[in-house]
Amino acid sequence: MSSIIEKVADCLVRAGSTFREDQKEAYRRAIADEKMDSACWVMRQVLDNALVAEERRSPLCDDTGIPHLFLEVGPNKCVTGALLEEIKEGVRQGLRQLPGRPMAIKGDDYARIDQSGCLNEDSGALVPSPILIKPIDEDVLRLTVLMLGGGPAIRGITQRIFHKHSVDVVIDEIVNRAIPAVSQLGCSPCTLAIGIGRSQFEATSLMMEAMAKGDFGVQSDFEKRITEKVNESNTGPLGLGGKHSVLAVFAKIGPQRASGVRIVALRPCCCFEPRRANVELE
């Protein structure tokens, strides 16, 4: 196995099995701050689960997620077709090692839509989503692997907001969308991933970048305001009530169109997400 394939495979296993330190700390803070016993019980279970998963290098959740890839490319680094093939192979190997849930659907377009094509038993058959590539100033080639679960995908919303020349209007509408999404997800406390751009594609790309780069310990005013407002809903961990429906918001605001509309991508990431890890490939 080439060095790049090994690095990508290891990165995927870490993404699916490991909480980052800022994520663990966010849980510890929330547990210390929470008054409701049931909410504390849920968050302790989630944190204990993370410690067991990290030790065993086993999945945090049985929905191991669809691999999504974010590739940052420094000024003197080169991306070739061969490199992308090695990354793809690393994903395949990583899914087999984790192991990922074997949930690739076989068959033609219709069979894949109605799931009549049966499941592929090979965890590695799950193909990753298209790679998001971004040029950066730092001279590295850095891959972030994100494992995106199905629950947040069901409750995610990408839709326009008429801003009426007010940030408050945009925040209020995001909160109005987030509260039912968090409640219906069930697997809270959530982290809300948000991208605001000029098209559905751009907003979703920005949301992906927010998930790839967000830090639970570093929150902007915009992010804090949304967290506080959503937490007023008292949905709480697993919907059982409590102050911590949302642990943090990871938002990325891109260039905007001269228009009355903003396109907002919103994903209520579950209690384990963003499941991510990164690796420098060169």
Binding site: S17, S38, W41, V42, Q45, V46, D48, N49, A50, V52, A53, R56, S58, P59, L60, C61, D62, D63, T64, L98, P99, G100, R101, P102, M103, C118, L119, E121, S123, G151, I154, S183, Q184, L185, G186, C187, L238, G239, L240, G241, C270, C271, F272
Partner: protein, 169 residues
């Protein structure tokens, strides 16, 4: 913490209250969207008995069973919540185990049949360390969505609906 062993008797379930944290041990069934409607169809047609799988006093955990482990899917999906009544009335299932809010009509139906809905956190790594056996018992062609029977030790869950009350009220 209330330690309970499957299969449950009527008294064990009758004592459970919303908000109780329970620790479940014994054999439980696992099934979700694909397989639960099939079980209901056979129960309603009166042909389930041919399979010699006793659901009486049992638990249905709304999960797939895969090499990745187990973990609850949303119980309020149409095919899953739609199975509660038949599974409890005709199958004798006493605990539906999953996650997410269920409808008030379902909460009432559970009370009428002395059954409960419990929520289990999606803690796959912990659950894996508490799962002792797993066996596919029906519709193996559904792969991870087939009907499984697993043996568990100390699965922790919280009672979310019992006696006509719900944590979501």
């Amino acid at each position: 913490m209330n330690h309970i062993e499957t299969p449950f008797c009527e008294d064990t379930i009758a004592k459970l209250r919303v908000g109780d944290v329970v620790s479940i041990s014994g054999y439980i069934f696992c099934g979700r969207d694909a397989v639960l409607p099939r079980i209901c169809k056979e129960l309603e047609a009166g042909i389930w008995g041919k399979r010699c799988i006793d659901l009486q006093g049992g638990v249905i955990f709304h999960t797939a069973v895969s090499p990745a482990g187990v973990g609850p899917t949303s119980s309020n999906k149409l095919e899953i919540e739609g199975s509660f009544e038949t599974l409890s009335k005709l199958g004798g299932i006493k605990m539906h185990l999953g996650k997410g809010a269920i409808r008030s009509e379902t909460v009432k139906m559970l009370a009428d049949n002395n059954a409960v809905f419990a929520i289990i956190p999606p803690v796959t790594a912990l659950l894996e360390s508490q799962t002792l056996e797993r066996e596919c018992v029906a519709w193996s062609e559904l792969g991870m969505e087939a009907l499984y029977r697993i043996k568990v030790e100390n699965y922790q869950a919280i009672i979310a609906a019992a006696k006509g009350k719900s944590v979501y009220e």
